[in-house]
Amino acid sequence: MNLLESYAQVAGADVIAQLHQLAAPLKGAKVVHVNSTRVGGGVAEILAKLIPLTQELGIDTRWEVITGDSEFFECTKGMHNTLQGNRIPMGESLLKVYEATNAHNAETLRPVLKDADFVFIHDPQPAPLLKFFPERKGKWVWRCHIDASHPYRPVWQYLRQFVAPYDASIFSLAAFAKELPHPQYLIAPSIDPLSDKNVDLKPDVIQQTYDKYQLDSGRPLVVQVSRYDRFKDPIGVIQAYQLAKQYLPTLQLVLAGGGASDDPEGEVVLSEVQTAAGDDPDAHVLLLPSDAHLEINALQRAADIVLQKSIREGFGLTVTEAMWKGRPVIGGDVGGIRLQVFNHHTGFLVNTPEGAALRIRYLLHQPEMIQAMGQKAQAFVCENFLITRHLREYLTLMVALLHGAQDRIELS
């Protein structure tokens, strides 16, 4: 069975048929995606599946990764943080490294990029590449995966000079879009239903996870999966759990987060969370390695309810993942969580630990509602946030770019 056939079993044969039809006018086109890492992070995860799927549709698609030294990545990490709102000026010398590294990569990638019909440049790291291709043949698109809605202005102004000449850009949400002199497309992120993080698991795999973390499968469990980051409000989650436990003494909580080694603040937050959890044997604070995808998957499936009580959030793919597993989500009333969680339908939006505690109690007293909301949540993700929808929108965008700015394109 090829990849597209595998996805047809999950997303539906009509969805795959539509991809074939949309891809027909793009057959033989040369498409190149460029980012800065082949492993780790959401972008690499998406590209790892998007590339072979596009290839199976008859489109000549490649994935290239730029290289750089530690100074380059120090610069781009700083840039990433400032675009997300950190107000820290960037040193001139680091910006020189940024441009020189892109110039070097442009020469390495020249044979591939100069003749490509479509080039997708992901995030700020390779953004300056375009200026080294005045003779480019194809359409170049800048894909911004981060929440740059409130950037540190001087850094955005610096980056903007590289981004503005692109033929188009893509943002994940309307609120993230910037003022740019070209079409700005909106394409929400997606999850891969066949990845380790989301694939269906046998009951014994879930039971192993219960056993490993000394969880009782006969008692209610709420889970939040997220980095130990104040924006994810892990302390608020513990407060919500403690409030709810006064009424539901058998309640268990798992807070599961990735490694904090590259994030100095993460260690501090983790320590605060451990202190807040105290010696409660039912409050489990887990620090998992970044590749513990199957374990995260099992924990989300073990949960009765998944929490994502963020106080600031980009899109919130952990919400999407939980919903795909048929779990209602109690999420913070912020960012992309609002696009996924609908009160009384797929979960509840909350603003306080008290609100989260109330909804935990409300749902756990009505197991049939947990099931009904979980089913709706799964159907909603299936229709809107699977990688097949993501691919359809990329194909639509490529067809649209071939036809200019018209709002209606009729393919014969």
């Binding site: 009509d14 969805v15 048929a17 539509q18 039809q21 949309l22 027909a24 943002f171 309307a174 609120a175 879009a177 003022e179 079409p183 700005q184 497309y185 909106l186 394409i187 929400a188 696009l339 609908f342 339908h345 797929t346 909603f380 229709e383 809107n384 946030f385 929808r389 359809r392 929108e393 194909l395 639509t396 965008l397 067809v399 649209a400 018209q406 709002d407 209606r408 394109i409 009729e410 393919l411 014969s412």
Partner: protein, 231 residues
Amino acid sequence: MMARPDPTEPASHMQPFSIKDCALVAMATGRKARVLQELRSELQDIDTASIYNHFWGGLLQSRFGEREYNNDFASWVRHGVHDAILAERLSALAPTTFSTLESLRQEIVELIDNRLDEAEHLSWTRATQQFEFLCSQIVVFDTTMQLQHPKELASVITTLSISSVFYHFIDARRRTADERDDFSDWLTTFGDEFAPLQEDLASIDPYFGSLSELRDRLGQVFTSYFQETTP
């Protein structure tokens, strides 16, 4: 009684019905509103494609099927501006009853003006979420599937993608001379023969419910019509 063609025989003298499909990709216009007055001001000259998108585009984009309000303006007024009165008035607008998007635009502006006269504080109350004006590009493609006789609609309709249903039943109103759906338009080529079916189709309000519910409803209408009329 009017003679009916044998449904098993292709009606060779008629144009076949080509099943098409479409895909939409959303775009930011860069225009936003933070207060009601600003929404009104932007509405004055925003492209009608954006108004179309905020009434109909939601059906095909990543949004929840059971929306509280059926257009984005009403939803923002309720949840951003927190004015239930104007939200209800805006939600009562049925875009199918307006001959042009221009006249729909004028009615929205009129409703906002009336409300601003009634409640002065809305002129300056800042919304808790900003409204983003979006538009979209639609790519239409041929599925290569063709129907020779209307009876085939009964079995085919439930196999169509929801975007194909959107294209033929909703988007058609922007394309056909009488601003109706493609199925009714095709049935007209058979003279009065399918007039009752056209009436049944005209009674379906596509503005409520999801596209998959609309597809189910169309399936029921076609199935029951052809069951009743087949000798």
